[in-house]
Each structure stands twice: as structure tokens, then as C-alpha cells.
Symmetry: C2
Subunit: 422 residues, 2 copies
């Protein structure tokens, strides 16, 4: 492994011992696909830097393994799920609310009646039984983690890459994309960072094949941030673009001051200027800032996205929405968000999820999204895409020969989940 990851000594097993007779999917045996065990573990996120709001060094990642009775090519199908960076430790919600409902549901209820294969859309409804409306925060993350693992299991059980399985279930585009636009999100504030080290970092992203990059703002003075911006713009080749991200830090007057200063540059976008739920401030900014605004990584449910579409005054022809399916109840909720947006004049191409990992990449390909965030070399091994899949001209190709999310094509991540759940 490139990044040695210390594994926390904490695994909770939910249904241990209930493994039934194997269900040989590749031999067409009858009976519904069954979940035989669900395990929950945690690993450190292992990144030592901060943005305008948070320090990542103590964060963990919740990882779950959904074991099934399906055997493909002699191996039992196990689906893995994990959360994106930023929200963590949903252990209690997983082990006491969400997963017991899945465990207690009859297998027949959880499968597509035609195929006998698990249906994550149904499973999500089961997991949300007895949950109150509103309060979409950590619960959305917990359900998103399970959703990821279920989709991984379903795709593996049916021998399809995840993007194909998602496409077949939701049918939102004619066919999945073969490659997805990605941009390198970096430019964090490091304790010993200089303009030189920032430029070196940006150059390293260009060397990796990225065309577009993003840096943080709002963790320093406006003057200092403008120096960072100009310093990066000066080294970007023609056709490469720079986005800036304030991580929801500004009040409206500060956001407007930045907007005024940022208008002087041809930026890719100005991200999360204000609190993600302050729709009115976004509406004011959309009147004042001529460039693209981006927000949404801290919206967790279709209700919040609908409010953004109704009240935030964003411009469907240019602004960017960054909801992260793995943090917000998973693929089915994300499909509902797209439905809500498209009914109001938005297109899927204006959506570009936060998260920077294989699951969101597959959602982007399957749902026709405009792109997907990427964090080169940080948040590893959960962040990033499959090994030996280079970024070419700012795009990453989907691996079409790996069933499931593709964790098995990412050696460090595959090794980690095997160590967590061995």
C-alpha cells in the first residue's frame, strides 16, 4: 500500500452465524439472493490538512461489508461500502437503526421479484422505516454507506460494473458514459504551505493528466487568497481552468466582497460561498456574481435540493450542483434529486458530485452527470479510482471489466477491506 493505513480495532458484526446454503447465481440456482451477514468497521481517513472550516486529521471512515449467499466463480459475493470524507462515525445509526431493519426484513421483500436479486431501492425504503421526516444529516450518510455496499453486491452478483447496474435500474440516459470529466480538488491550507508549494501541487495534478483544478479560499485573507489564485492561474496552460472553494464559510457581505474580486478572473466556478442552507444569500450572489456558482455537497436529501431549486435563485444554464450520492441516502435518492431538478429546467450535466471515489464516478457515468470531483493522492485509499487507469485530457475511463464498484481494481483499498473484514 502506498499509504499505510492503521486499521482501528473495532468491528461490529450484525447477523453473524446466519449464513445459509450458498446461492449459486452463476449456476442459476433458485431462491432469492440473501444477505448472510453485515459487518461494520472503521478506518482512519489518514489526511493531515485542513480547508477553511475543518481539519481532517482525526476523521475516520465507516466501512461495511455486506456478505451474501451468492457465489460467483467460486467466491462468495461481498459488497463493500464506505463514506466520503467529512461526515463520519455513524456507527450507532448503522448498528441500531438502519442495519437491524435490513437484517429483520424477509429476503423475499428485499429482492426484485423477477430476478431474485437484491434491490437496493427497496432496501433503502426498508432502512428508512420508522425514521422521522427532516433531519437529513448523518442518517443520510449511514444509509448511503449501506446503499453503496448493496449496489456493489448486486453488480458483482450479476457480473456487471456498477455503472451498468445503475444504468439498467434507473434508465436515466440512453447509455452510460465511457469516461467522465474529473477535476483535481486540492489547494488546501497546509501549516507550512507557500505559494511555491501550491504551484508545485497544481503542476503535479497537470502531470497526472488533469486539465482543471480547484483550490481552497476563505482560510486566509482576501488579498492572500487572490495571490494564491493569481499564482495558480499564471502556471495553468491554455484550456485549463481553476475553481475556488470557500467551504460555506462566508457571511453574505464577505461572500459579496469575494464575488466582486473573483469577477476579475475567468474561473471555472466559485464554490460554497455561504452556508449551504442559506438559500437567500445564494439568490443574492446569483444576482451579483456573473460567473458560475457551485454548491450542494452539504445537501443530503431531495427536500433540501428542492429548496435550493425553489429558493436559491441559481441559474440552471450555468451553475453547478455537487450533491454527493454516497453521503445522501445513495443512488435512488440521487435519482430523485435529478428528477426534481430536471422538472425545474436543470440538466444532469450541471451536476458534479463531491466525493472523489469509485462509487460517485459510477453514478456520474450511469446518470449522465457533468463530471466528478477527484482528490489526487489524498483521502487514499478510499478516494481515487482504479489503479493503472490514467487521467487522460482531464477525463477518467470507467473500468468495464471489473464487476461492482471496482474496489478489487484498487490494490490499497482492496487490501484494506480484506484486512478490516478478514
Amino acid at each position: 500500500m502506498d499509504n499505510p493505513v492503521e486499521v482501528l480495532d473495532k468491528i461490529v458484526t450484525l447477523t453473524n452465524g446466519r449464513i445459509g446454503p450458498s446461492h449459486l447465481a452463476d449456476e442459476q440456482e433458485k431462491g432469492p439472493m440473501r444477505i448472510t451477514d453485515v459487518k461494520v468497521a472503521e478506518a482512519p481517513i489518514g489526511s493531515r490538512f485542513s480547508n477553511a472550516v475543518i481539519d481532517f486529521s482525526r476523521m475516520t471512515v465507516s466501512v461495511i461489508a455486506v456478505e451474501t449467499d451468492v457465489v460467483v466463480a467460486g467466491e462468495r459475493v461481498v459488497g463493500y461500502g464506505f463514506n466520503s470524507n467529512g461526515r463520519y462515525a455513524q456507527t450507532g445509526i448503522l448498528t441500531e437503526r438502519v442495519l437491524p431493519r435490513l437484517r429483520d426484513a424477509a429476503s423475499e421483500v428485499l429482492v426484485d421479484p423477477e430476478t431474485g436479486i437484491l434491490d437496493p431501492v427497496t432496501a433503502r425504503a426498508v432502512m428508512m422505516t420508522n425514521e422521522k421526516p427532516g433531519g437529513h444529516g448523518d442518517r443520510a450518510v449511514a444509509v448511503g454507506i449501506v446503499d453503496m455496499a448493496l449496489w456493489d453486491a448486486v453488480a458483482k452478483a450479476t457480473g456487471r460494473p456498477l455503472y451498468q447496474a445503475l444504468h439498467d435500474r434507473f434508465n436515466l440516459v440512453d447509455k452510460p458514459a465511457e469516461s467522465v470529466w474529473v477535476y483535481a480538488a486540492g489547494g488546501y491550507y497546509y501549516p507550512d504551505g507557500t505559494l511555491g508549494s501550491l504551484r508545485d501541487e497544481i503542476r503535479s495534478y497537470l502531470d497526472l493528466g488533469y486539465r482543471d483544478v480547484k483550490i481552497k479560499i476563505g482560510g486566509a485573507s482576501l488579498a492572500s487568497d487572490l495571490e494564491r489564485i493569481e499564482g495558480v492561474l499564471a502556471i495553468l496552460p491554455d484550456g485549463c481552468r481553476l475553481a475556488v472553494d470557500a467551504n460555506g464559510r462566508f457571511d453574505l457581505p464577505t461572500a459579496l466582497s469575494y464575488a466582486s474580486a473573483l469577477s476579475a478572473y475567468d474561473l471555472l466556478w466559485y464554490e460554497e460561498p455561504c452556508d449551504p442552507l442559506d438559500y437567500l444569500s445564494h439568490a443574492v450572489l446569483a444576482e451579483e456574481y456573473p460567473g458560475r456558482l457551485a454548491t450542494g455537497e452539504n445537501l443530503f436529501a431531495v427536500q433540501e435540493v428542492r429548496n435550493l431549486a425553489r429558493h436559491a435563485g441559481l441559474r440552471p444554464h450555468q451553475d453547478i450542483l455537487q450533491m454527493d450520492p454516497s453521503l445522501s441516502y445513495g443512488a435512488a435518492e440521487y435519482a430523485e434529486m435529478l428528477g426534481c431538478l430536471c422538472a425545474r429546467g436543470w440538466q444532469a450535466a450541471r451536476c458534479c458530485p463531491h466525493g472523489g471515489h469509485l462509487y460517485n464516478l459510477a453514478v456520474a457515468a450511469a446518470f449522465g452527470l457533468g463530471g466528478c470531483e477527484s482528490y489526487p493522492r489524498v483521502f487514499e485509499p478510499f478516494g481515487g479510482f482504479v489503479d493503472e487507469q490514467p487521467i487522460e485530457d482531464g477525463r477518467v475511463r470507467l473500468a468495464n471489466d471489473l464487476p461492482g464498484i471496482g474496489i478489487e481494481g484498487k490494490a490499497a483499498l482492496h487490501d484494506l477491506v480484506r484486512r478490516l473484514f478478514r
Copy 2:
């Protein structure tokens, strides 16, 4: 205990072993008040009924004990906190995010520099370090639980009832209320419930001293709900009022149908007709329904309350807001909510928190709120007020001789927390 409560076999201790020399507050010893240990436990909520949305039978309550080095009258001060019904199992958020930050903060940072006594307002800021904006759900509950325990400890350390400690810290009214209006929230759907049993239940609330009552709607057909309403109205004495609660279940057309039918009755209020975050539907209902609307128990942060005030079209002169301080980051956040509302023409008297327990009662008295929900005989022992404090003419008096929240004046709850943390 009236309701035997099985104690779950799960206690996490956060700072065990770090108990320092006793700080004898009542003997004026120097040095800041210190947290010596924080323990987290869970207990079942022990109620077997449902409303329109959820079944409570499997819910738990997270309980924490904040142990301090203050000794009053020979006993070490311990503050207790627990969550209201409905959102539960925030264990991971407590033990891995919120509480470690409190543990790692220097005692000097957590206290009021003038008095050396813990300041829960500062503690809340410390607990929210490194938390991302948005996503106000279970995190708000976790912080609310700790906030409750810290206020209990602070009030006990200074020999004041909680309402007095809150009043002294926030100064929102001239003086705390001596009694608070409460209403009996019941009328749930029981599997074997009849109109007769519903009427018996309502009569029992009147016998307890309540004047106003609330029943659920939306878990049955409109016709059946109207029968329930008429059945209850027929037995209510003059001056007693009935509220109805749909628990956010309806879409707008259904909410409007109910609004039209409910307009025929003189109801106390029509509560949570729609999804709590669907501000636009509330605005439509406020145009169409002449009576009082009530909502807010599923809003968890000042940002969400501000959006309600901005976008939901509710009427400050008549509608009712039910945010629950113990579910939404605690007293300081609630004070901010009130500030946000009052700047928009609302008065504290229009607020009446969900929750039905001692902490919210104290907040209501300290902040001049219009009242407080009450759940006679259910959600015990966490629900309810101090023993032998009768409801008189629909009001409950605040116990002025019990330092802290008043848990020690509620035998079943006091017994439970002692068993949980012995």
C-alpha cells in the same frame, strides 16, 4: 419505578481515570471547574405505539453523565443529559466526534473566566470544531444531549434550578416564569384502539389537570380521523382545546383536503401537515387554512428556522413553532433561533417545544416561551416532570428547590441514571 426499564448493557467511558483533586465549589476553592469523566449509555424508550409515521417500540434513549470535580454538600456534581424521543443511537457521533473535543479542551477554555464555572455556550463551540456546515440531524441531537448534561452540572454546581441558570446566562426575559402551560400530547394509534379507548385516554388527561390535548391524525382515513376529532371534541369541557398532529405525513393535496375539513372545527392547532422542510407547501397552507398551523419539531438548527421564517409564509401573530432545544444543539442554539425569529416579528410566546421533559420545561420558563409539550405516562421515565408536581389548570409549576434539571426530583429517572452509571 412505575415503568420498569431494562438497562442496555452498554456504557462507554470517555475519560476514565482522570479524576483530579476535588474542587469544592461550596467552599470557594480556586481553579476552574473540571470535567473529570463523561459516560455514555443507552436505555430502551419502552413505548409500544405509533403515530402516522413511526413505531416507537424499538427506540432507545442515549443518556450521558458528565462527572465534574465540583463537590456540593459532600456530593460530587454529575450532570445528566438524554435525548427526546424520535431520534436515537447517536453513539458514534458522541464518542468519536463531539465528546473527544470536549475531553481534549483545556478546562480554562471551557469555563466562564469570571466564575471558573463551566460555560455550556463555549463548550458547544468546542464540540462543533471541525464539523461541516449543513446536515443538521443526528449531530444536533448528540450535541443537545451533552448541552443538557452540561447545564445540569452548571446549575447544580451553583445551586440553582436549571431555569434560573439559563435565565442568568441568556437574559431573554425580565424573570423566568413560575409555571408553564403544558398540553397533553397523546391520541396515538394503538393496534387495538377504539373511539372509546381514545375518549378514555383524553378523560384521563383532563383528570390529571390538563386543559388542552392533542391527538394524531393521518394514520387513518380522513373520515375516520374526523370521527376521532368529533369524538374527542364532544367530551372536552368548555375552555379545553384540541390540537391535531399529522407528523409531516401529507403531501400538499392531502394537507389541503384535511385543512378544508379541519376548518369546520375550532381546533387549537393543525400540526406538521407536510414535510418539515417543505416551506412552500406551508406557505400555501397558511393562505388556505384560517386556523393556527404548528411545525418545527423536525428543524434542528437556526439555519432551518431562518428558512422557515423566510420561505414558509407562517403568520407570526398566530402560528406555533415547536423546535426542541434538546434535539437541536441545546439552549444556545435555541436562543439564536429566538433571536432570528424575533427579528422577523415573532414572539417567544409563539414557541412551544416538542419533547415533554424537564429540560425543555426549564427552557420554556427561562426564555418566556408559550408552553411545552407533555406526554402523560408515555416515554417514561425520560418524559414528564418532577414527581408530585400536579398539573393545575393546564399549567405545571417549576420546582424551585431542586438544583439542575430536576432529575433527582423524579424518582424513576433518578433511579435509572444511577443504575446506568453506578
